[in-house]
């Protein structure tokens, strides 16, 4: 697929979308759509529902691009939060949902990305996040994974795990804060690497 706007940042594309520029939205989809769909599929475990969540999220991007503030968040982050919110809303509405959210589906991960570079970057990023998750205390990792990938609310988790709601809240906060720290550390390591390898 031809890349149309490669010299423009995601944030500039969102500003163009705010002025009704359709090619800019198409380019944002080409950049973020695959990750968005992978996320929605992980939460919803159903291709049709996952596509619906992505479709609704991109329509929300089209409608609300003018309210996006680049000083607050990266554009890709904003889009992924919209996708996740839609996916979670849908999964909570579905009764047949969430058989085993923690099960890692290797077939899902091994399909190739659009290009070898993108595939390598995704693999690197996935391994970075997964190794950071492994360093969390089990109860914190469990709370984060069940919430983010499983779509469970804090009170649903308290019921499921048989612990007080306050415990779930503090596990989630401590876990996410620790994960942020671990990812910051590994991002710094990653950024120093080229100095030694080149």
């Amino acid at each position: 697929m031809r890349k149309q706007h490669t010299h423009l940042s995601d944030e500039a594309l969102v500003a163009m979308v705010a002025r009704g520029d359709e090619p800019a939205l198409a380019e944002l989809y080409d950049r973020v759509g695959r990750t968005a769909y992978g996320l929605a599929l992980r939460v919803l475990r159903d291709e049709r529902h996952a596509e619906d969540a992505v479709q609704e999220a991109f329509l929300a991007v089209w409608r609300t691009a003018a309210s996006f503030r680049a000083e607050r968040a990266k554009a890709s982050t904003w889009i992924l939060t919209l996708v996740h919110r839609r996916a979670v809303d849908l999964v909570r509405r579905e009764e047949r949902r969430r058989a085993e959210p923690l099960a890692d589906d290797p077939a899902v991960h091994e399909s190739e990305a659009s290009g070898p570079e993108e595939a390598a970057w995704l693999r690197f990023e996935r391994e970075r996040v997964q190794s950071a998750l492994k360093l969390l205390p089990d109860v914190q990792r469990e709370a984060i994974e069940l919430a983010y990938y499983g779509g469970f609310s804090q009170s649903e988790l308290a019921d499921r795990l048989g612990v007080p709601l306050g415990t779930v809240k503090s596990r989630m906060f401590a876990g996410l804060a620790r994960l942020r720290e671990l990812l910051d550390d590994s991002a710094q390591e990653g950024s120093w690497k080229p100095e030694f390898t080149s």
Partner: protein
């Protein structure tokens, strides 16, 4: 209680709050700078979790369905243009984009040197342009020649969004003009750009006033003081 509601930032970033707590947290968020900052950084963390979930490609028609959705509804911010006067003759005779595209074929590689432009300065210009686009009080003005739009803020800051402009041929540049009253003889320089594959987002130097026309011509590299060729892009009068 205060500590309690701050702690909900994590649950909110993970979309794990129940409906009533979500509402309570959003009400709190609007007035709590600490939580806004915390949330912004937690969202970067959850975005990493999103990337880690990446899987197979969606079906090809998902892209088409999204674009069909978008075409089916009117853009939110675009102020429909109402012509105030007839098109200015000299600009109405603007050279077709097709001619420029033909000129550009085979020559675009020579613009690679422009890729070495100070990337930071380019990013700054891009941010300044984006700021005008998202300004809700800025007006959209349609083009009488060329594909795209002109956006003008109330203070007269102007941004051109262009499609279908190829990189400028070797030894040439695109030059932007602010043309008072549409009289090309009095055109004022408004900046240069080298052109890219695909879309162009350019902030003009200078101030655009009511009745002005914005135009783009192809000139010798480095630019000229007055247009020497027919415009390839011309806006309607602002």
């Amino acid at each position: 209680m205060e500590a309690g509601i701050h702690q909900l930032t994590a649950g909110y970033a993970l979309d794990a709050l129940d409906a009533d707590e979500r509402r309570a947290f959003e009400a709190h968020l609007s007035s709590c700078e600490h939580c806004q900052e915390e949330l912004a950084s937690f969202w970067e963390t959850t975005a990493a979790l999103a990337v880690a979930a990446s899987g197979p490609e969606p079906s090809a028609d998902l892209r088409e369905r999204i674009l069909a959705d978008v075409r089916a509804e009117p853009p939110q911010n675009v102020v429909p243009f109402e012509p105030r006067r007839r098109a200015v003759p000299v600009l109405a005779a603007a050279a077709s984009i097709a001619a420029v595209v033909a000129l550009g074929i085979g020559l675009w590689a020579s613009s690679l040197s422009s890729e070495l432009d100070d990337a930071r300065a380019a990013l700054e210009r891009e941010r300044a342009a984006a700021a005008v686009l998202v300004d809700p009080s800025a007006r959209t003005v349609s083009l009488q020649a060329g594909e795209g739009q002109l956006v003008v803020s109330q203070r007269g800051e102007a941004v051109l969004v262009l499609h279908g402009v190829n990189p400028a041929p070797a030894g040439k540049t695109y030059e932007m003009w602010i043309v008072p009253g549409g009289d090309i003889a009095s055109a004022n320089r408004a900046g240069l750009f080298s052109g890219h594959e695909g879309a162009e987002l350019e902030r003009l130097d200078g101030t655009v006033r009511a009745g002005d026309v914005v135009a783009v011509t192809i000139e010798q590299a480095g630019g000229v003081d007055a247009p020497t060729t027919s415009p390839i892009v011309a806006s309607n009068p602002v």
